[in-house]
């Protein structure tokens, strides 16, 4: 098998605070292959953004502590100098952010901001950079790019700004695009357009994409593989079919159960996962999800389940239940109607 594009090995990211050490990311390992779309799913505070921000080394908090390795194309990014890291950022790994309303600098026009990125990593004349910027704006579906290039971010709508952000991110043909909840701040029709755009651009540019989201519905269409994160750890990992049709972790069931589905008659309220995620300072003994898990039994409060392959086929999960138990129980959470009629 070819070497993965990105390999994260036992990454731990913690923040020193007055209350103690917050373990935002607590020992996670995963890979992203070339041209692959990996969805990283989890609720707020599960460590998904921190993980990918660490890959970019974009966390500026002076109280951050890192452990582990981030291998990108055979190099450990954690060991790179600041200048070497700058070469990676923007050129090899690019990132788009959650809120397009605040992610662009309000005082420069969008052309300037794209050209700045181009000039940082390439040797271009002014005219070349501008032509390339117009080309990029056209590629991300901005109408009349020759005129819009001189407009300022506040003259664009939210969806258009996210397109500009994507143009910015793709300007240097990165091999890995990290999209941190790119659709969360947009309304639903625009969300679909932006996802479609990312899908098409992925095809045209051949970049791998790491798509962070709290919405399984968002990754359903475009992800090849999905990581489910909970409280700073990966609790389930598998390809799209495995996660959607054979989910193993009760947390994943909860996420699936809370998606509104239009292809089934809906007779009741969506099931929500009860309770709050655990404190990342004092992690409870045993499984982190146990306090919220309706399936928890004695072993869960004593022993921390490891992420292992129980089903096979690269499908990993961190739960003590046996595969048969899980298959028998999960419909009660995901599809209560089906479970009752069965």
């Amino acid at each position: 098998m070819a070497e993965p594009l990105l390999e994260v090995k036992d990454l731990k990211v913690s923040f020193r605070t007055e209350d103690g050490l917050v373990r935002a990311v607590d020992g996670i390992s995963f890979t992203v292959d070339e041209g692959e779309v990996v969805g990283i799913v989890g609720e707020s505070g599960s460590g998904k953004s921190v993980t990918m921000m660490s890959v970019m080394r974009l966390i500026t908090d002076p109280n951050v502590l890192y452990q582990g390795e981030i291998i990108y194309k055979g190099r450990n990014l954690m060991g790179l100098s600041r200048d070497a890291m700058r070469e990676v950022r923007g050129e090899e790994i690019a990132m788009i952010f959650q809120d397009p309303m605040t992610s662009l600098n309000p005082v420069y026009n969008v052309g300037w901001q794209i050209e700045e990125q181009l000039n940082e990593h390439n040797d271009l004349t002014k005219g070349q950079a501008r032509r390339r910027a117009i080309e990029l704006l056209a590629q991300v579906g901005i109408p009349r790019p020759e005129q819009r290039i001189d407009d300022y971010p506040h003259q664009f709508s939210g969806g258009m700004r996210q397109r500009v952000m994507i143009a910015l991110a793709l300007s240097c043909n990165p091999d890995l695009l990290i999209a941190d909840e790119p659709t969360t701040a947009l309304d639903v029709t625009i969300q679909a357009q932006i996802l479609e755009l990312i899908k098409n651009l992925k095809r045209d540019f051949g970049s791998a994409v790491a798509l962070i989201t709290h919405d399984l519905g968002v990754v359903a269409d475009i992800a090849d593989r999905i990581l489910v994160m909970y409280a700073g750890r990966i609790v389930e990992e598998g390809d799209k079919e495995q996660i959607f049709y054979d989910p193993q972790h009760p947390y994943t069931w909860g996420l699936l159960g809370s998606i509104a589905r239009l292809d089934r008659p809906r007779t009741r309220r969506l099931t929500a996962i009860a309770g709050q995620p655990p404190s990342l300072i004092n992690r409870p003994r045993g499984c982190s999800f146990r306090p919220r898990c309706p399936q928890a039994f004695d072993r869960c409060s004593v022993e921390d389940p490891a992420l292992t392959s129980k089903v096979g086929d690269g499908h990993l999960d961190a739960c003590h239940l046996s595969v048969d138990d899980k298959r028998a129980r999960r419909d009660a959470t995901i599809n209560p109607e089906l479970a009752e009629s069965a």
Binding site: G90, T102, L104, E116
Partner: protein
């Protein structure tokens, strides 16, 4: 942009008119103030007072008197000071370059040093340099300018004047730039430094706070994600957007100082500027001079504000008129 400038110019006229009416009413329609008696000198005869009243139109209705005053001020430019019996306009015009020299020089120093201090404090946040700079800034804000000026004079003019460091310092006063540029500079350098100390401290603190606030903006993260150097992120992204507050404050302070607010510095360093003129006219209740210096001051303050609005539009495209 042109309509914007014209609108600002018209607005300037309206403001000046309103201020002149207000000042006119305060001084000329205040009971108990009789300008004629002031002008007539000691123990005047009722006859003299009556003549003066007639001559200056003081026996006419208020709107006419306002009109006459404006005519003397702007059209015939022969408004006479009550106190010194000289023409007011040339007096103000000769004081203007003094004040402008003082404030321009101080402004250059305070802008440069406050940006350096503010940026250094923000960059070195979390180290010992930041609190040291901020304490120095606080001291600069707290030191009264008249005291600092006197101490500077004591050192450079008297106690250590013969010490080689300060032996070049010329006596207090003002030499026009056109007459002797070196002398102009030497006489103004200590007034500049003294005047700018307060503003360096104040602006450095404001800028540091703004820089730190901007540093947390999403677009700064975007700038880093683009792979820009820290230096470029700071200068082109963080500093640029942080300058918006700085510029608004600068316009106000600059206008106020040129308009006569540098009074204390002018008095301490014996600079015959507009502040000094205003101060003297106020103590003598010299109404024509008061009127002229107030309108002069108002003119510079509104002008500085109009310029700041233009600069602001350049800095922040969101406020640009469509």
């Amino acid at each position: 942009m042109a309509t914007f400038a014209i609108r600002r110019a018209l607005w300037l006229l309206v403001v000046l008119f309103a201020i002149s009416v207000l000042v006119f009413l305060i001084f000329f329609a205040t009971p108990g103030v009789d300008p004629a008696r002031q002008m007539a000198g000691r123990n005047p005869s009722p006859e003299t007072i009556k003549n003066i009243k007639h001559e200056f139109g003081l026996d006419r209705p208020l709107p006419v008197r306002y009109g006459l005053l404006m005519k003397h001020m702007f059209i015939s430019r022969d408004l006479i000071s009550y106190g010194s019996h000289t023409r007011v306009i040339p007096e103000v015009l000769s004081a203007t370059p003094v004040t402008l020299s003082l404030v321009f020089g101080a402004a250059v120093i305070w802008v440069v040093f406050s940006i350096l201090t503010g940026v250094a404090a923000a960059v070195f946040r979390g180290t010992v340099i930041d609190p040291i700079l901020m304490i120095l800034a606080l001291i600069g804000i707290s030191v009264p300018v008249f005291w600092l000026g006197e101490v500077v004079n004591l050192v450079t003019q008297s106690r250590l004047h013969n010490f080689f460091l300060f032996s070049w310092v010329p006596p207090l006063g003002y030499t026009p730039l056109t007459q002797d540029p070196l002398m102009w500079f030497e006489q103004l350098i200590f007034p500049w430094l003294t005047l700018s100390v307060l503003y360096i401290g104040f602006y450095a603190r404001v800028l540091r706070a703004n820089l730190i606030e901007t540093e947390n903006e999403d677009y700064i993260r975007t700038a880093r994600a683009k792979g820009l150097s820290e230096r470029r992120v700071l200068l082109r992204h963080t500093l640029r957007t942080s300058m918006i507050t700085f510029v608004s404050l600068f316009g106000l302070d600059f206008g106020i100082l040129v308009g006569g607010g540098a009074l204390l510095t002018e008095v301490v360093f014996g600079l015959p500027g507009v502040g000094l003129l205003t101060y003297n006219s106020l103590t003598a209740l010299d109404l024509p001079v008061i009127m002229t210096t107030v309108i002069y001051g108002a003119f510079f303050i509104t002008l500085a504000n109009a310029l700041v609005d233009l600069l602001y539009a350049w800095l922040d495209p969101r406020v640009r008129p469509a």
